[in-house]
Assembly symmetry: D2
Homo-oligomer: 426 residues x 4
């Protein structure tokens, strides 16, 4: 690890939580240079829904490289891009009755978010945007301005212009927080200028697995319609099937104006899309660009994944089946440790949070103890107080249960040590 400490910036993060050098990976496992195998419940923060080195994807990439398919294409027309477009249209959009133009952006989520915000402001001619408490949308200047976490908001670089934060669903207990947003909009002296857009995640992944309800999302959509505000769903972390459906908002029956997609769309390779309602497509040619918006290897991977997993309901059904397991097990574990831990289990699809309310530091310790059990699992929330479960969607039942067992073991060990330490103090 010395080489990373010497050469890499102090900004490095996950390497500190999982201090080993990984060499290979497959499906839901990572293997380090010592040959130790870890179960991955983090999945590249939602990038590896189809698993590490999915064999179908790897095979397609190898074939493509072997025949010298275009690798880097800027935004020129290529066969790989054409085929991806067609697949996405036929397999994802048409069956869902969705009509969007597709924009390829620089291949990361934050670039998609920047693009969405820029377009919304351009179309509406208003500069204000509404984001939500605990929202996370990326860390370039525009995206970080709609990201709530003050770990990323230093006085020296934060751009605080033209963004207003409203409370997310559940932010004030049982109160319907949409009533707050509505009042600020209704009252012409509230200080809230009608925004060009709202940007929202249906489940706040970094923010703590906060799940927006169907009703809340529907009310948000209807407020947007009423006040002529564009609705941007940031589906970067919980789209691509994470909730069982391809888009995380399908369950609510809403119809966003703009959707940002990234992470798993490229099957593990960098790729990002913005979907926009055709009437919003008011860009001038070349008005927004980016060198790697034509990452053709990712197009090959993306098309392979779409055609494999989204032409029928198998993956969706599997996600729902595994959700039941994860939910039941986490609730059982929470119940088992209820003396020591005040836990709320919440989530949707294969995005679950194990929110430890009585002590903010435990989640981080659990992540570390889980690593000792050869389980990769991360925390989320403003104080990293929530353990986040994001296994690859394609994980098999056995490994899922094994991972949950390791998590339970981690708690056991930690709780035992705490008890010992406590008794040692007397």
């Amino acid at each position: 690890m010395r080489i990373f400490e010497n050469l890499e910036s102090e900004v490095r993060g996950y390497i500190r939580s999982f201090p080993t050098i990984f060499e290979t990976s497959k499906g839901a496992t990572l293997t380090n240079e010592q040959g130790e195998e870890f179960i991955d419940f983090f999945a590249g923060a939602g990038t590896l829904n189809y698993g590490h080195n999915n064999p179908l994807i790897s095979e397609a990439l190898i074939k493509y490289l072997q025949k010298d398919g275009i690798v880097h294409g800027l935004d020129m027309a290529t066969t790989a891009k054409k085929e991806f477009l067609q697949s996405f249209q036929d397999t994802i959009l048409v069956p869902r009755n969705l009509d969007y133009k597709i924009q390829f952006t620089g291949p990361t989520g934050t670039n998609a978010v920047e693009t969405a915000l820029k377009l919304a402001r351009l179309v509406k001619g208003r500069s204000n945007v509404v984001s939500f408490t605990n929202g996370f949308h990326g860390l370039t200047q525009g995206s970080s301005s709609v990201t709530g976490n003050n770990d990323y908001r230093d006085e020296s670089y934060i751009s605080r212009s033209n963004v207003s934060f409203m409370p997310f669903d559940g932010y004030f207990g049982d109160m319907n927080t949409m009533s707050i947003f509505r009042k600020f909009l209704e009252d012409s002296s509230s200080g809230l200028d009608i925004p060009a857009a709202v940007i929202v995640e249906t489940i706040q992944g970094e923010g703590g697995i906060n799940v927006a309800s169907k009703e809340w999302l529907q009310e948000l959509e209807s407020i947007c319609r009423e006040y002529d505000i564009l609705l941007i769903i940031d589906d970067i972390q919980v789209g691509n099937g994470r909730t069982g459906e391809f888009f995380s908002f399908e369950f609510a029956g809403i119809n966003p104006d703009i959707i940002t997609i990234s992470k798993s769309i490229g099957g593990g390779l960098p790729m990002a899309l913005v979907l926009l309602k055709p009437d919003l497509d008011q860009w001038k040619p070349g008005e927004h660009t980016g060198t790697f918006r034509g990452n053709n290897l990712a197009f090959v991977a993306a098309r392979t994944a779409i055609e494999q997993y989204w032409q029928n309901d198998d993956l969706s059904n599997a996600v729902k089946y595994k959700e039941k397991i994860i939910k039941e097990e986490l609730q059982r574990i929470a119940e088992r440790f209820k003396e020591e831990l005040d836990v709320e289990v919440r989530g949707r699809g294969l995005a679950y949070g194990f929110d430890i309310k009585n002590d903010n530091s435990i989640a981080g310790e659990l992540s570390s103890y889980a690593f000792n059990e050869k389980l990769i699992i991360e925390t989320c929330g403003s104080e990293d107080q929530i353990v986040k479960f994001l296994p690859p969607l394609i994980i098999d039942e056995e490994m899922l249960r094994e991972g949950l067992k390791r998590f339970e073991k981690a708690i056991e060990t930690l709780m035992a040590e705490k008890k010992e330490k406590l008794s040692g103090e007397f």
Copy 2:
């Protein structure tokens, strides 16, 4: 092409200049679905310095995929990343006596620029930044704020805070433009607040192949030292050997505080780096992140390229040799058409501009006529008035000359048509 028109956003750009569907590519050529071969003098806007599908790189990628090497690694430690770090340190930094910490950012140039600006502001505790006329640094909010071209600056979305523009080298003819910057800094009532950093390209690639002189860069560096301003070199387009040396600023003997690298570093795959002086490494862990900052396929490609091309001077020498050819040929062509065209030929390494000063529209027409000759070549400059030559560095002499011949043919044809049209008018 219908599918692109139907499904893709109007924002698409290069596809309009080069309206054919490319399927495969190799070295300096692209082949379309009809099997027609094009010589590529654009090289992915500087991303393909090592050529399309460089066989060494493709082979390394295939091997890596076959052995299930980690593809997506967030910022965890991986074998591929370790090996890249070691290679970059040993092959690039150490021989040049350079001491930098390496930060992996989201894998596009604009993410590296955003990171550099954020870090500079953080370290200096000042929010102002100086950029230069005709600078291009990307199109996310922070990067676009330091980008001059008003094609990318709409009232609705531009962030104009905390950026001041100064004239680039040569902006006012023979006048030393550094004297303007210096006067604004010296005068405490100039309205220019001492910036945290200046960000500058040594050759403005999008801005028109404007070449900063050694003396200008040295004076810029010494002004930065004098006023405690960080010097950021954006080496995204003209680094990676484009000028013959790995970094484009080496010829000037300057020592930037921060360097942004992207495009060709990943051998055609998305990758970006920020190099920062160790004392600037004041990030908190995880303060700046990005899902794809661990694109391990790119690390494999990058390491392969570095070890192949930068352990001796062969590539550097070849670039210098080919620069002579390109320069002589362009000057000869300019001379040949001097009655019709008022041309300035300028550049450094394998970045050359053919600046047609008497008519802004000709460069665009030439790009189009060149396409008919099966040559891919783009324009640059604020009015797209300059033809830009950016062939892959590994292009062989024969193909380089063939490309230049096709360019000459394009001029011939265009000039002949213009003459004909003109005579037809009388």
Copy 3:
């Protein structure tokens, strides 16, 4: 009136509500060029607490002019300024146990607000500021950024940086809105950066005579202490005795860090002050200036008023006495018209609102009908839906009752006409 229409900008406002040319004034009355006398329940929007041409003040001004006292003094030391400082210290601050440094700013409320915001940011080194829904603090750039009413917030000129709006007391019915502010502060991912300061009125004068309760103000103060936020009370409209006490916040027992004072302080002449806790006095000499911060005529008027009205409790007691009259009468009138109008009467001291909840247009009509009855009275609130009662504090009981009678007459007439019109429609 033709001359105003021809020569003055369209921006003129009150002249449209009260379309006559006033020539002289005295106490609570204004007299137009035709010799018609109007009772003034508007009092220069709170500038004429001591009445028009208060004889003591006029006399002092005339004497001062006759002896060639300094009129314009920049911020040099003058006898008039010295005497004002001493009086303000002895008569206002010391008896209230208040310890503030006094800063003279440009002689309008907005200049005081700009100064307060600038100082707060300077001292705390944070740029964010919190303001409240329906707050009004002036219309220069800094002040308008903390003013909620969108009549003053055009996309082209609003500065939306570094200001967050929180709900004022009562904004969500019975809910304690301080709990919303507190939650946003507690949660480090709320998107609300800890502000340098909050700026608040104890009664929102322009915003609709919204009265903050003692408990709400106390909780605000304690939140400010807890999070090291400066508390700025904008006492421009409702200070200077309007509530019965000199400062409007005295009743709550809070201790603001910064207080802005203007309007009536100068006895009708332009004057503004910022009071700042001594430890906040971190200005460099001359860091904030303004040509007319030494309006010595206003100092003479101010000192006269202070010494006349604030050395004993007579004025305070009179205000309380007249408050009872105004409140009872308005409630009686509201009761009388309860079939037609859904009215809430609210206020404190001699700042009362007659809030007509069933029809936003009636308040404006009433102002106009009252004008016909020779009563000057204005509206407030985001939709101008509230009639605002701000008589001079020195009004005598008879004239107060006469004014209220005229107001009642205006309602009678308007209601009768509405009924007639309605019946005419059938």
Copy 4:
């Protein structure tokens, strides 16, 4: 003076330069509490063009107060305002063939500037504004953003959005600085967005008595026309006859779109105006307000001054006559001390600078030595390196010469002491 130190904020400035308590004043003199008389070459920073306590003005004010004329009128119609409007139109605008709508703003220069900037942005729908190096336009947020001096630009409170600074006339020696502005406008990639307006002083009063030439102003006007940019002349310090003509730009024959007026317009009382071309009068009623925009005492004073001094050329001629005296004397003094001091004398009308180029600290010392000679004179320029001569326009020749003599005496004394000190060191 103890009372000021104890009670007033540290921000106080001029009181430190002129540490005595002034009690009365008349014409060009100030008298302190000890009865000592000072000649005033500062004139309230340009506020007292008509002298202290001008007898005509004092008399008019006393009469007005005695008859209970309206003192505070918000923006209601009053007799005093009507008469001012008529006088200003008849005496100032019509004879100069100028067609402007008049807007009364809060009664200070900075309020007029804020209003002008807001209106320009509103009308043009562009947020960018160009200001000039060493420009001073006030210290509220909008005005300070166009003010260059970094004494007023702290990182914590400066608003740096939407303002670009260009070099003023003479900023780069003989170079025509308009060519720089023009190039930035012509080049669509310069980073300078076409501004809504430029704001400029014809003589930079605070900035160092930098005098714009006729040609420079004319070129600025023609650039504004060419690029559809509004031309705002800030005539606050050098308007009102300071240059001999009522408006300081008359000599150049230009026709500004917006003019800001304050300081001397109210004859020493707080008052400010914005003049706007009728087609720019796109305000909604009440869109920009301010409590003291109807300071009727100032209207009375203003009308008196206009009718007295601007119905014939006497004052203009007197200014020109006295300019000759001041210029010749200052040049003579400069010549006399040329061994010790490298001085440039420059100015126009009765605004002159004595710019001591070899030592920035001397001007400040001279101001202090002059005070000992009973002469009030201030410094200006970014380093306070220039002594600024701004006597009342109505000063008589004898007192003007006496003041200049005192200034010369101050230099003599200072130079003698310096020589002595120097020789003492050996």
